[in-house]
């Protein structure tokens, strides 16, 4: 009973955010809208003139598009695995974050695959993937993986939101009839009976159980697009787990940035608290350490054995005149700085954690660039080509414009979603508030260990 009361008052507090657009928000939307439209113009240019307008050529056949693909899809996978784990462990503090995690999943997994479409020369023949699929091809694995995951992600978002839809459909706040109808539709007849609560919980448990291994599988499949080729720097057995960790590391960083942004913009300090940043900070340290270990192991084996082509790629990566700066930034700044800033209590604060997150997200984008481009610039046979655009890849304005459009799409979709449904889940947060009001009962007393003397 208390929960319903609390959720009512929470919704009252959040309602202005949902119903009104402030000038600042409109400007924000306008800015990203323009960036998005510019990207659409670039898309028009690319579709009409062909891939010649990009920086990609016969050696470097993939560029920032595939970098963005890995980047976004990794972020998407994170929301589900993070949300899934926190749900299964029933970490009470997770509740205000679940909506953001689920939205991050769905939005990124919508944007990511659009970048792979930008790599495809004949979009008019895209349906061949469904009428002539060859199961041997890792691309087909990825198509299946992404589509499966998208369904899972949307379900996760939806199941987590059903109770809020029900509350929104019955709220006393004024809203246009169509909007109430929409909420009514999405609430799917949820009226909070005991049976419905039980079914919903069961469904979420099962979905979390399914989503966690799914994320590991789909993330590995993504890495195998590269791992299955005979290319130095790609053909590595570590690539599957490496990509899984890299994805979750990046995604958790983005999660922190989203939390920071909404906390500031929607004035949610009371719900997205310092502890949330700190807990995610701890997760970041664990992931960063694991990811850093994989990175070290990967480069060390390539460098130590110095097989011809691996050595060539390693040399390009470490040479300050080539990819050196990017390499040191991505692999040191992106891993060590967050671990130090978050790991040492004296430095730990919302601001430093957010700064670390921003740093590592940027570093991880460059890391993906370092995986893709230097390898493609190092074919097994000498290039012996004097056309500079064939020897060295550099992205053109079209590719940058479309990169910007992806970020813009992320911002716009998040903003629109936050106008439709509270960014902090009303029901679950109310539940958490009510639970935490009660005195904490220690269910797990420390076992008494009798030390042998």
């Amino acid at each position: 009973m208390n929960i319903e009361k609390t959720s009512k008052s929470l919704l009252k507090e959040f309602w202005p955010q949902l119903s009104n657009w402030t000038m600042r928000e409109l400007l924000w939307l306008g800015f990203w809208g323009i960036l998005f439209l510019f990207g659409m113009y670039a898309l028009y240019v690319q579709v009409t003139e062909g891939h010649i307008v990009t920086g990609m050529r016969d050696h470097v056949i993939w560029g920032v598009y595939i970098v963005n693909f890995i980047f976004f899809i990794g972020i998407g996978y994170t929301g589900a695995i993070l949300g899934g784990f926190l749900h299964l462990f029933d970490a009470e503090w997770r509740k205000p974050l679940m909506r953001m995690a689920a939205l991050m999943t769905v939005i990124s997994v919508i944007i990511g695959p659009l970048y792979i479409l930008l790599c495809i020369g004949r979009l008019d023949r895209l349906y061949f993937l469904f009428i002539h699929p060859r199961l041997q091809s890792p691309i087909v694995w990825d198509v299946v993986a992404v589509m499966t995951f998208l369904v899972g992600g949307v379900l996760f978002l939806y199941l987590l939101a059903i109770r809020d839809f029900a509350i929104l459909a019955r709220t006393e706040e004024t809203m246009p009839a169509w909007r109430r109808k929409l909420y009514q539709f999405f609430s799917a007849g949820f009226i909070n009976t005991r049976m419905q609560r039980r079914d919903l919980k069961l469904a979420l448990n099962v979905l979390s159980f399914i989503l966690i291994p799914t994320v590991i599988i789909v993330s590995s499949v993504l890495s195998w697009i590269f791992g299955m080729t005979l290319r130095p720097g790609w053909h590595s057995t570590i690539f599957g787990p490496y990509f899984v960790l890299a994805a979750i590391y990046t995604g958790t960083g983005v999660m922190v940035l989203i939390m920071y942004a909404f906390r500031k913009l929607h004035k949610l300090e009371a719900y997205i608290q310092e502890r949330h940043f700190v807990y995610l900070g701890y997760i970041l340290i664990a992931l960063g350490a694991g990811y850093g270990y994989f990175t070290f192991s990967e480069y060390l084996t390539d460098w130590y054995t110095s097989e011809k082509w691996n050595a060539e790629v390693i040399h390009k990566l470490m040479d300050l005149n080539q990819y050196g700066w990017m390499f040191y930034f991505a692999n040191f700044a992106g891993i060590l700085v967050p671990i130090i800033l978050i790991g040492i209590p004296k430095f730990r604060s919302i601001n430093t954690i957010t700064f670390s997150a921003a740093l590592l997200v940027l570093a991880m984008w460059f890391k993906r660039y370092l995986i893709i481009v230097p390898t493609l610039e190092s074919p097994l046979l000498p290039m012996q080509d004097i056309r500079p655009e064939y020897v060295h890849y550099s992205a053109t304005w079209v590719e940058w414009a479309l990169t910007g459009a992806g970020i813009a799409m992320f911002m716009i979709l998040f903003k629109l979603a936050s106008k439709f449904i509270p960014i902090v889940p009303v029901w679950e947060t109310a539940e958490q508030i009510e639970k935490e009001k009660k005195p904490v009962v220690n269910n797990n007393p420390q076992p008494v260990v009798s030390s042998p003397s």
């Binding site: 050529r57 020369g121 004949r122 023949r125 002539h132 060859r134 091809s137 005979l230 290039m383 012996q384």
Partner: protein, 315 residues
């Protein structure tokens, strides 16, 4: 079976004769008008069994480049030529970077000068090794990493050993280009330039021409020519007989003027496959650049400055 054998024999015979004609530099005289010379003119040739046979010059046909055979037979290009297992041997000791193979290939496939399905690279295996010219076709691997990764069956392996591309199926994802460790494949980044489009045959995976935008292309071993019993254009265009083309089933390869046992050639000249360690099982074999016919410097003669600049890192 008998029919098959005689087809094979014909193929080798014509290939041989054609090569002879080219080398003699008397192609026109020999091939000008078959009827006129019928019965008067016989040519001695080496049969696949190692016997000398006399062939009437009327059997020699002029190279027409019309791809007509493929079209007439209405082949889809996905099935291999029955009973065949095509193979190529490239003798590195004979190459002097004349680039006739490159230009002949471009002419045959109506592709522009800046697109090379066949490349001649200058290789230097280590600091002390002597550089050598290295013509590179598609290797038509028996374990093709490009075919494995194609998501839509646009590139495929045929029973006759060829790896071809169906440009009407290709979605342009370029995964095969990432898969190929030899950088054999090229992509039509913009609207492809088709040279002499009027004489271009209708498209088939065997003609590989005209080029289609935003799809992947590569060396195809000219199966449309082979179907007519002719040799691929790079083979006949080479003035030094670098390329030997033939059938592994028959154990015979020819560069036009010489026809030899495939197995014996590999044995005598220590034939090898490039980057055997990759496990791709190429159908192209190389003979090491020993007992060279030309010094490597000959290859720089008559090169444009642009072409010379390609090799500046090797010299």
């Amino acid at each position: 079976m008998d029919n098959d054998k005689s087809k094979r024999r014909n193929f080798i015979r014509t290939g041989l004769a054609l090569g002879l004609a080219t080398v003699a530099g008397a192609a026109n005289e020999l091939l000008g008008d078959p009827k006129e010379k019928s019965g008067k003119n016989t040519v001695k040739l080496l049969s696949p069994d190692g016997e000398i046979v006399e062939v009437d010059s009327s059997e020699l046909k002029l190279e027409t480049h019309d791809h007509a055979g493929t079209m007439a037979r209405n082949v889809t290009g996905r099935e291999g030529i029955e009973g065949r297992k095509f193979v190529m041997v490239i003798d590195l000791g004979r190459c002097r970077n004349a680039r006739k193979c490159v230009t002949a290939c471009q002419k045959m496939h109506h592709i522009p000068e800046n697109k090379e399905w066949l490349q001649v690279k200058l290789m230097k295996d280590n600091d002390n090794a002597a550089p050598y010219w290295f013509p590179k076709t598609c290797f038509h691997c028996d374990n093709p990493p490009c075919v494995k990764v194609c998501p839509v069956d646009a590139t495929f392996k045929r029973s006759d050993g060829l790896v071809l591309i169906d440009n009407e199926r290709c979605i342009g994802c370029k995964f095969c280009m990432a898969g190929c460790p030899y950088s054999t494949r090229v992509f039509n980044w913009g609207e492809p330039e088709v040279i002499e489009p009027t004489s271009c045959p209708p498209y088939s995976p065997e003609t590989s021409t005209p080029s289609k935008h935003s799809t992947v292309e590569k060396c195809d071993f000219c199966p449309d020519m082979v179907r007519e019993g002719k040799l691929p254009d790079c083979v006949t265009a080479c003035p030094n007989g670098v390329f030997f083309f033939g059938d592994e089933n028959e154990d015979t390869v020819t560069n036009g003027s010489e026809t030899v046992r495939f197995s014996a050639l590999l044995k005598e000249k220590s034939g090898y496959r490039y980057m055997e360690e990759l496990g791709t099982k190429p159908r192209v074999y190389y003979l090491p650049p020993s007992s060279r016919m030309f010094p490597v410097e000959r290859g720089f003669k008559n090169l444009t400055p642009e072409l010379k600049a390609r090799f500046k890192d090797v010299q």
